[in-house]
């Protein structure tokens, strides 16, 4: 799964337990799935409450498709840059790793900035989470994803500091592999989010 580039042994696994790298990735994958299940509960809440606008603003009035398209592209290219980072790590190329990480971080930060400015604009228009059940659900869902992205950015900075201090050590490499899984999974959740919230909800 994390093992992007190496042709993994699809045969010859008769002897002994799997390597630590594989076990760590599997455990983190299970965590990610549990995170996705948590998101599914928030998605279900949103879907149930999407019509309960209480006379307040609806999605079609609030959402700006162009901004969402830019956010989507930022996150997608950030995910791609994260893949490039994995490859640079594979090659043990320090400069390329830092470069790809910087691109990943920058695009993620642009995404987060756009999202926060959207929130600020909505709140300035009076579309606060208190206004209606629809808006409560909206801010919970999109805000939860945004919080994950913010945490991911922090994690990336920490990993770069570790890489700088400890070099390409096995434990650092495992953490970096977990980070890239996390970052790609966030992009998957964003796909569901922009399709359901912004595209379906933004139509007049």
């Amino acid at each position: 799964m994390t093992d992007t580039t190496l042709p993994m042994a699809s045969h010859a696994r008769k002897d002994g337990p799997a390597s630590k790298r594989i076990i760590v990735a599997y455990g983190f994958w299970i965590f990610l799935l549990s995170d996705i299940i948590m998101f599914s509960a928030i998605f279900a809440t949103y879907a149930v409450l999407v019509g309960a606008t209480d006379g307040g603003p609806t999605g079609a009035e609030l959402f700006d498709q162009k901004r969402v398209a830019i956010e989507t592209l930022c996150l997608l290219f950030s995910s791609y840059a994260c893949g490039m980072m994995s490859l640079a790590i594979e090659a043990k190329h320090r400069l390329a790793t830092y470069g790809a990480a910087a691109v990943t971080f920058a695009l993620g930060a642009v995404f987060l900035t756009l999202e926060l400015s959207e929130f600020a604009g909505m709140i300035a228009e009076g579309a606060t989470p208190q206004r209606s059940a629809f808006l409560s659900a909206f801010f919970t869902l999109v805000g939860c994803h945004g919080a994950h992205v913010g945490f991911g950015l922090l994690w990336l900075v920490v990993m770069m500091a570790q890489l700088n201090a400890k070099g390409f050590r096995d434990d650092v490499l495992r953490r970096l592999a977990c980070f890239s899984l996390f970052w790609h999974a966030l992009d998957i959740i964003w796909v569901a989010l922009f399709s359901i919230v912004y595209l379906m909800g933004g139509r007049v």
């Binding site: 042709p7 299940i37 997608l76 594979e90």
Partner: protein
């Protein structure tokens, strides 16, 4: 290449096989990016155009979203059907089951509650749109 399954990214590979591995990885990510871009563009187009039959658009968007998630899983997260990936795939299948139960079940139950417990269509209208 006899003990590949014990090979971690930190292990030393021969320079040739490593270069080969990185090249194929680059191709995988790039193909994934291109496919994801196509699906994203199609989704945004379908949501904004007037050409399509409107009631069908949400279903189309859902199909595109599921397809794009599949692209991400295969090309970015490297979920494959290989024997070394069985555990990952099984965990994913279980996750999908739970997600379907939570989302589908919630919508189903709440739709029935709405239909059965609202006093009258007029009041419901008031409730939802006032």
């Amino acid at each position: 290449m006899s003990s590949q399954h014990e090979r971690a990214p930190g292990d030393d590979l021969g320079p040739d096989s490593r270069r080969e591995a990185i090249r194929s990885g680059l191709l995988t990510y790039t193909v994934g990016l291109a496919l994801a871009l196509i699906f994203t563009a199609t989704s945004f187009w379908a949501a904004s155009t007037g050409v399509l039959w409107l009631p069908g658009v949400p279903i189309g968007l859902a199909v595109l979203a599921v397809a794009q998630m599949g692209i991400h899983l295969v090309f970015f997260l490297h979920i494959t059907t290989g024997p070394d990936n069985t555990n990952n795939v099984l965990a994913l299948a279980f996750g999908v089951l739970i997600v379907a139960l939570v989302v589908g079940g919630s919508l189903w139950i709440m739709a029935h509650l709405n239909a059965n417990m609202m006093p009258s269509p007029d009041l419901m209208n008031l409730h939802m749109q006032r």
